[in-house]
Amino acid sequence: MNTSARAKNRNFRWGLLFFLAPVCLWLFLLIVLPHIDLLIMSFRAENDMGDMVWSLSNYRNFFEEPVYWLTYVRTAIYSVLVTFLTFCITLPLAFYITKVVCPRYQGFLTILLLMPFWVSELVRVYGWMILLRESGVVNHFLLKIGLLNQPIEMLYRDTTMVLGLVYTSMLFMVVPLISVLESLDDSLIEAAHDLGANTWSILFKIIIPHATPGIVSGSIVVFMLTLGNYLTPNLMGGKNSLWFTEQIYNQFIASFNWNQGSAFGFLLLIISSLIVWLGLTLSRQKLGKVVQ
């Protein structure tokens, strides 16, 4: 009895080690240490003698150079805007699929909805580029039916960039919304309807309060992906619509100023954690729960 219990215990410890070792290697070598390195590098800079010293100059540069912090603020504001727009577009869609459409088409519509997102983001952005550019397909049709006399450049504007970002992130909003609306009991809506509530009060008093966990988790993912996006702002935005990730890229690859780049990276990390934390606190959700 005693020996078998001990054997079991030894097995248990070996099992723990077997599972713990690869996970620890992964998390410490690829997540924890690199980010500590990033933090250290962001506080180091060359002094007048050309030696590397501890310094706050990378962060000072950020606040003294308007182009940097303006891009930073712009990126954050646009990301919030994109998140909100994505929510407004996908909520009726999720509601239609879960509550309105005949159940026979439900599965088919869901698959249809998810299909484009299996395709690479680059292909989707490229599709928008050939649709919207000056020699693009939309211009071609508008010229043909006589709405335009000469082609206009629809690409490289802020509006186009927002459109591209919303398009890219819709999936991550619609999936949590569908799953949360599926759990909403139809009889609640029926009861409200029988008691004379109109569409808007049903929306704001029943549907949205019930859907809050899904809205929060969708919004967090969309916000994160938009804030960290490089491809869409770079290819669809114009020269004036600089994204903060592009600033990071420029510091790393073009100017080769890695210390400045790591400071920017850390600032991006700070704002993303801050806004995610704010969203979680305001809606009283937990990160561990939301990611499932």
Binding site: N11, F19, L27, L122, R124, V125, I130, D186, E190, I253
Partner: protein, 287 residues
Amino acid sequence: MIRTLPQSRGYSFGFKLYMLVYFTFLFAPLVITCVLAFNDSQFPSLPWKGFTLEWFTADLPHRVGIFHDRINLDSIWVSLKVASFVTLLAVGVGTCGAFLFEQEEFRYKQLLYFLMISPLVIPGVILGISILMFSTTLGLYFEQSWNLDVALFRPGVWLVVLGQFSFIATLVTLVVSARLKKFDRTLEEAAMNLGANRFEVIWYITLRFLRPAIIGSGAVAFLMSFENFNTTLFLVGSEATLPINLYLQVRDGSTPVINAISFLLILGTSLLALVSSLVAKKSDQAT
């Protein structure tokens, strides 16, 4: 309002119109990309100049189809290689992670769990730069201390694999954990009573049960790796992966060859999605 309640005509018509507009918006860029891959024109734009397969098969001086385009073919090969390694690594470590967080108890478990999900809230660009810097730091250290030049620490295929693995493993861990939660642990106890040790139990019973989740998350891991851009951008060396290579071409002007590649990608990913969902469904029915 909902299907059990009477709806006004305007309401249901409005919804149908919204869905129509939405799905047009959703599919327009993909459909137009595919259609223009077959247009007999030097540029990926209308007017339609007739059907051709030359953007796939041609090997002419002014027109090289994708099947003869060395640079693009090479980058597809690099991407396939990277994605295979990332999938293997991520599925292996991710499954270990699922067992660790579902079945083991140890100190600081909560802290480690928080670390495990943190890649979800770190932008891919940041993961890319931090891994690039850390590997450079390590490379410098090894060179100065032991005069060793380790290829792994320079930007290149292996660094790309590690960078993509660092966040894809989280996804695998979450998906496999979700299935492991549904596992009936009395089956394990029964096997142990019959004399199996822990590893035999895992190999013959638990892993069999987890198979659909492992296959499904493996397929998603493969796709995510194949399509990753943000993290890869900073870690890539001389061998570009397909998204990086396509990005460079799209940025500097485009030819219908890109449409041809996109068409093949759309076809490939749809097939993979279909197969993996069929496999998942079949295994779900089997258990």
